[in-house]
């Protein structure tokens, strides 16, 4: 079956839904395609909040926040790799974005005076993070879904996108496997927006939803779009020991402290000014360092002590964290410390786009975590990812609105050829009898990524890692699955995910090996210093003729000159 729309959005999280509303309100025929129901998107799991310089809570000396402070903190947090024009755009748009969500119906936590509450977050000079207790993503996603639902915007739910349709250098739609029915559909459009989220499940300890397998980045890469800065992977300092479910930075924002096995507040040693609220890369490294020195607990974790907050504040501000700790760890944070360790959390890198969200293929756009615009550079500040999703969901939709009217609807026959290609590929995967097991490959890939491309990196282990990835790619060509059905075949979906992940792993590895410096989340023990002379630039990886090509792109500076980053 082939259907036609003006604009297709791949992904139904915050970015995709916000863009859909904007496009619909401009009288465009827009459809959302998602491999899960939009409410099951990973955006729903965002806890701590959304940054905006509303200035509802004064700074320490009574001063009032503004967008420039926000921009400075973001650029410094990024270790000066963020593009400052994009940062400026995001920070200027932030207050409006939070207020817009409020008017759409989002329930934000409030101050006594009734204004939207704001809490301190890592690397921020002001209490800037607007929040809805510790369920900010849940509240925002439900609001946007309600708005999408009201508009009756078409949603192709439980559709796994298998290819982007490229014709004469333009993207004119995609093909997708409707996996409940077992049919490949063609979806034609004048423009396609990728809003597919991150690739955290490349790693074995991740806060990400199990669905975060980087499908969108892999699609773009295969279509010929470069991926940017993929070596910058954020490890969140506080994930629950055992399951690696996120324990929000807001827990430390509210006054929680990190303790080693001697009960020592070890962040005093690593970030004497910011302490537990240093940026995530700094705190994650500090915890790893403590554990390496034998100062962690057995099993390689430290304690996050929320008891200083008291029961009332925990119940009011962090009810979800309390429940997660009880459900998944048997620990009630009112009485005991929470066992935490760093875990993969966020992908700073992604599909290379310009400040308007355009990729190098006309008609193809990307926004949110799957893209790299780049507002996070080498390290994202907590509270900036929710902000990015909603700001750029709207702004990139505006760009599409400006461009799409001059474009003719693509002929349907283009989709037909792609449908056949996808069907053939799927059939080949199902029919294959090579004897390799996809789940073993996935597990090995996860181990390789976490041990060789984790918080601390070094040339020799990374080269080993790259070698392992190549071997796993070869093994993939011999994978067989037992389930041969086309209809509701979850083994097939997992196989399609794995196929993309093996490509992305190589991209991460190449970027990391070639970046011979330490910057933000990318920490090389063999190159411990930041090297602005050689590496104040974005990495680009393209896939041409089955080969990865690495090149670089200058960083857009402007407002703030790179300085040493001290917290």
């Amino acid at each position: 079956m082939i259907t036609n729309h003006n604009v297709l959005i791949i992904g139904g999280g915050l970015t995709g839904l916000r863009a859909a509303i904007q496009l619909f309100d401009s009288s465009l025929d827009v459809a959302i395609i998602s491999k899960v129901h939009p409410l099951r998107s990973h955006s729903v799991a965002a806890q701590g909040g959304m940054n905006a310089s509303l200035g509802n809570v004064p700074g320490e000396d009574g001063s009032v926040d503004n967008w420039k402070n926000h921009a400075f903190d973001t650029v410094k947090g990024s270790d000066y790799l963020a593009d400052q024009d994009a940062v400026e755009k995001m920070c200027r748009e932030a207050p409006k974005t939070v207020i817009e969500l409020e008017h759409m119906g989002t329930v934000w936590s409030r101050l006594k005076n009734g204004k939207i509450a704001q809490r301190p977050f890592g690397g921020a000079g002001f209490p800037r993070t607007c929040y809805a207790a510790d369920r900010t993503g849940h509240n925002a996603l439900n609001t946007l879904f309600e708005q999408v639902n009201k508009r009756n915007i078409q949603i192709y739910s439980e559709f796994f996108v298998t290819s982007l349709i490229i014709d004469q250098g333009s993207c004119v739609g995609c093909t997708a496997l409707d996996y409940l029915q077992g049919e490949v559909h063609g979806l034609s459009a004048k423009a396609v927006l990728m809003a597919t989220g991150g690739f955290g499940r490349l790693f074995n300890k991740s806060t990400n939803a199990l669905i975060n397998t980087g499908d969108g980045q892999a699609l773009a890469l295969r279509a010929g779009v470069p991926l940017k800065d993929m070596e910058f992977v954020q490890f969140h300092p506080t994930t629950l020991y055992g399951t690696n479910i996120l324990i929000t930075e807001g827990a430390r924002g509210e006054g929680g402290i990190l303790l080693n096995q001697d009960g020592e507040r070890f962040m005093k040693k690593y970030a004497p000014n910011s302490l537990d609220l240093a940026p995530r890369d700094v705190v994650a490294r500090s915890i790893e360092e403590e554990v390496a020195q034998g100062q962690g607990f057995e099993g390689d974790y430290v304690h996050l002590d929320l008891r200083p907050l008291g029961a009332e504040r925990i119940n009011e501000r962090l009810p979800g964290i309390k429940q997660i700790s009880i459900d998944f760890s048997g620990v009630d944070p009112i009485n005991e410390s929470i066992p935490v360790q760093p875990g993969q959390h966020y992908s700073m890198g992604g599909i290379d786009v310009d400040i308007d969200g355009k990729t190098r293929i006309s008609g193809l756009y990307a926004a949110g975590e799957c893209s790299c615009v780049s507002v996070h550079g080498a390290n994202r500040l907590g509270g900036n990812s929710l902000l990015e999703t909603v700001v750029f969901g709207r702004l990139v939709a505006d760009q599409i609105i400006n461009n799409v009217n001059n474009i003719e609807s693509p002929p349907k026959k283009l989709a037909q050829a792609n449908i056949r290609k996808s069907e053939d590929h799927i059939k080949a995967l199902i029919d294959r009898e090579g004897g390799e097991n996809q789940f073993e490959i996935k597990e090995k890939l996860n181990n390789t990524m976490s041990t060789k491309f984790g918080i601390f990196r070094e040339k020799d282990t990374m080269l080993e890692g790259l070698n392992e990835i190549k071997k796993l790619q070869e093994k993939f060509s011999q994978v067989s699955i037992k389930n041969k059905d086309l209809k509701v075949n979850k083994a097939l979906i997992r196989l399609l995910e794995l196929e993309g992940m093996l490509l992305l792993a190589e991209v991460v590895a190449l970027g990391a090996i070639k970046r011979k410096e330490s910057r933000g989340s990318h920490t090389r023990t063999d190159y411990p210093e930041r090297d602005d002379t050689k590496f104040l630039k974005h990495t680009l990886v393209t896939w041409e003729d089955e080969n990865m090509q690495v090149s670089y792109l200058p960083v857009k500076l402007g407002m703030f000159e790179p300085k040493e980053r001290v917290y």
Binding site: A45, R135, N483, K487
Partner: protein, 252 residues
Amino acid sequence: MKLKVYRYQDGMESPRYDSFELESRPGLTVLGALFQFQEQFDDSLSFNYSCRGAVCGTCGMLINKVPRLACRTQLKPLLRGELKVSLFSYPGIMETIPWDPAKEVLVEPLPHLPVIKDLIVDMDKFFEYYRFVEPVFRTSDLNPEKERLMNPEDVKQLEEYTNCILCAVCFGGCPVVGQNPKYLGPAALAKLYRFHLDPRETTDTSRLEIADIKNGWWACDSYGNCRKVCPKGVPPINAIENAANELKSKKK
């Protein structure tokens, strides 16, 4: 420890149950056990999942005859006989197959929704009722300059209902839904009440009137299973009782 899993797909005359001996791991959840089954025993086992942290509402299913989230339910306490929830009985949780709760965990699809395959159910009806209650803010200032003020106490009250993750566990646990498939069900009604409660909207009963119909507020028989099974502590039964009382006092 064993997992006993409901299996069904198109073309089968009746469902069957597969048993699988699990490798015990600390903190093993039903979702983790289903992955073991899929990865080691039969890759055709179908179930939905996403966040694995009890926030996305994807993995609602019937576990030991109680509707729950698979990701939040650990096996060991189940086998020890903990995590018991005493529900008002209804056909959806009647015995289907004998099982030994000390040795096995029984996993079946959520009641009251058509089975697509194995543990995947068709949620269309659930979302149809969600849409019926018009769950969206009515005010529409497109370019607002300021936030509207809200009392923190009001926010606290609202949160009781905004916490709903639309997992449909209450829908599968409601005896009335089983008897009357046209009943809007606890989740949709709790959602409607959330909008009624919101002080930023009108304070009259106009919202409540949407479900002032036979299959709305008035169909609830106050069994209270919804509140007991909700993984997020949402009490739909309170919303329904409050709404019914408000409507009654208005009509007087």
